[in-house]
């Protein structure tokens, strides 16, 4: 990993020099060469993406400046109109939902929402929803289904909130109900894991027809720290756990859990929200169009089979 990091730095230095050259006096031949070099560098950067350590990605996924759901809403959707509440207990700011226009079409957008400063972080409960958040999400999705509007979901949470109230109000039931209902909602659902895909609290809005995942997002059954403290009995071993759990986009594509990796701008999504949205936008659109091509019955059958096939890692024991 260290070698890869070193090489990446060298690549960045070369890139800077090229940009210096590019800012010099114009000259047809040099310009053509510069263009070629830039392309090569982009290729190398893409190769390096595959070598970024899992732990580095965990840190990038948690970066405070990383774009959150409402940032994507701002850059990719028009006329976003937020809706609130689960109609049963309360309103949960850790999970936002609302309708908006996406490429001239009404869609339901929902996602976990983290805060950036301390006040916002507390208000958003660090992106950890309570049962009412998941129930609001389901209410929003059912509303979308009723009026045949597609659903676009953004996943970015450390996990569902573990607290007394969460348990009293049925965190487990809320998540379970979402899993069952999302499997059969009769509209296209496109899911993007944008940051932290933290266990059941992430999965609860991550059942869909297409699953995209950002280059530096992670998606895991347990946090690396949690895993380390249980298995190694040492939370400091989180780096090892992150690697062992196979939680990165390349790993999860290989395991058949994620469909497509969304590249991030060099350095990570936090370096430019606009650039990140510019990359994600067209991929979301084509994922949605792909899902929409199928008649609803076929779409639901495909969705069922998609999850049905996940995790075929068993054999018949001899004898």
């Amino acid at each position: 990993m260290l070698d890869a990091e070193k090489a990446r730095h060298e690549l960045e230095a070369i890139e800077l020099k090229i940009e210096e050259l590019a800012s010099g006096p114009a000259d047809g031949a040099t310009d053509a060469q510069i263009k070629q070099l830039r392309e090569q560098i982009r290729g190398l950067q893409a190769d390096f993406a595959g070598f970024t350590s899992a732990w580095k990605r965990v840190q990038l996924a948690r970066h405070p400046q990383r774009p959150h759901t409402l940032d994507y809403v701002k850059h990719l959707f028009q006329e976003f109109t937020e809706i609130h509440g689960d109609r049963a207990f309360g309103e949960d700011p850790a999970l936002v939902a609302g309708f908006a226009r996406f490429h001239d079409e009404w869609v339901m957008v929902l996602g976990h929402q983290k805060g950036r400063d301390t006040t916002q972080k507390l208000h958003r409960n660090f992106g950890m929803p309570k049962p009412e958040g998941y129930r609001k999400a389901l209410r929003a999705m059912r509303l979308a289904a009723k009026f045949r509007r597609p659903i676009i979901s953004f996943v970015d949470t450390p996990g569902a909130y573990p607290g007394i109230g969460s348990e009293e109000r049925g965190q487990a039931e809320a998540i379970a109900k979402n899993l069952m209902e999302m499997a059969r909602l009769p509209v296209p659902i496109v899911v993007t894991i944008t940051g932290e895909g933290g266990s059941g609290g992430a999965l609860a809005i991550a059942v869909g027809d297409r699953i995209l995942m950002l280059e530096n997002a992670v998606y895991s059954v347990i946090s690396p720290e949690g895993c380390a403290s249980i298995t190694w009995r040492d939370g400091q071993k989180a780096e090892l756990a992150a690697e062992a759990l196979k939680i990165t986009a390349p790993d999860l594509i290989q395991l058949g859990i994620v469909d497509q990796m969304v590249p991030e701008p060099p350095g990570g999504a936090h370096t430019s929200h606009e650039e990140m949205a510019r990359i994600l936008g067209p991929m979301l659109h084509s994922a949605l169009n792909e899902a929409r091509r199928l008649p609803i019955a076929e779409l639901l059958e495909a969705r069922y089979q998609k999850f049905r096939r996940m995790g075929q890692f068993f054999r018949e024991a001899a004898g």
């Binding site: 607290g163 049925g170 487990a172 059941g200 059954v221 996940m310 890692f313 018949e316």
Partner: protein, 280 residues
């Protein structure tokens, strides 16, 4: 296909039970009395003095629930291929092997078919002593197949949970099993084939947050620990002691999360009665 017979099986199951400590005597968690283990057998591991429900292994559970203590087991040989090649302090493969040897099972659930009150029933029983009853791809697949069999044959389904949740050593694959099983349950629901979820001690994490809470009826044994987050995680998060009885069956009943808390002695008759109502 494996058929089990009464006397031999009951003896072996209680002897190999992971819950009962070594030796012939056990201290009851409820009343602190020392009990001769044999005395627990006729009551299916329930303390005669204080009604404390000791854990019940999966095989004994199936004999408790199915007529003549007989059942046909499905997919008994299915075992994990260790998809992540997971190694922490010791390889997952070794953990699997020792669990297999200790339980004489290939993974943490038995899916079986038999009769309950004279009518066909599909019963899945989880085995807590197999890596904490955790759900990996084998548990996910076996339960999904059981649900699909229930749909195909219109056979009512009962799942008895006893699990710490998703199996960490299979990473995100184990997480996704929650979605896979829940999708199959959506189909069972649409087929209007009944499903009763029985939550036993303990049922937490990804198992609670998927099939265990999706029954047409969700019922629990008395005193079982049931929740999404584990009590220690909650204590660490909120930095305060949890109230007595928190996340126990009776607590969930009080908060509207369960249809009933049913003592083990009445479990089978409760299920038969419920399936009478639910089966059209």
């Amino acid at each position: 296909m494996t058929w089990f017979r009464r006397e031999k099986q009951r003896l072996r199951a209680s002897e190999s039970s992971q819950i009962l400590t070594e030796g012939l005597w056990i201290k009851c968690d409820g009343c602190r009395q020392i009990i001769w283990k044999k005395d627990l057998e006729p009551s299916w591991n329930v303390c005669g003095k204080c009604n404390h429900h000791f854990r019940l292994d999966a095989r004994t559970r199936l004999r408790l629930l199915l007529d003549d203590e007989q059942y046909t087991e499905h997919d008994a040989g299915l075992e994990s291929t260790d998809p992540l090649n997971f190694v922490d302090l010791k390889p997952y493969r070794e953990r699997l092997e020792s669990a297999q040897q200790a339980t004489e099972m290939h993974d943490a659930v038995i899916t079986a078919e038999g009769k309950m009150g004279g009518r066909p029933a599909m019963v899945c029983a989880m085995e807590y002593s197999f890596i904490g009853g955790s759900m990996g791809c084998v548990v996910g697949e076996k339960i999904t197949r059981a649900i699909e069999r229930s749909i195909a044959g219109r056979v009512p389904l009962v799942i008895v949970s006893a699990s710490g949740g998703a199996r960490m050593m299979e990473g995100t694959i184990s997480l996704i099993q929650m979605a896979k099983i829940s999708a199959a349950l959506a189909r069972l629901d649409e087929a209007r084939v009944p499903f009763i979820s029985v939550l036993t001690d303990p049922t937490t994490g990804g198992v609670t947050a998927s099939f265990a809470m999706l029954g047409d009826l969700n019922i629990a044994e008395p005193g079982a620990l049931i929740g999404f987050a584990g009590p220690r995680v909650i204590e660490q998060t909120i930095r305060q002691k949890l109230p007595a009885g928190f996340q126990r069956s009776e607590f969930l009943l009080e908060h509207g999360m369960l249809d009933a808390v049913v003592p083990r002695s009445e479990l089978k008759s409760f299920l038969i009665r419920s399936l009478g109502f639910l089966s059209s």
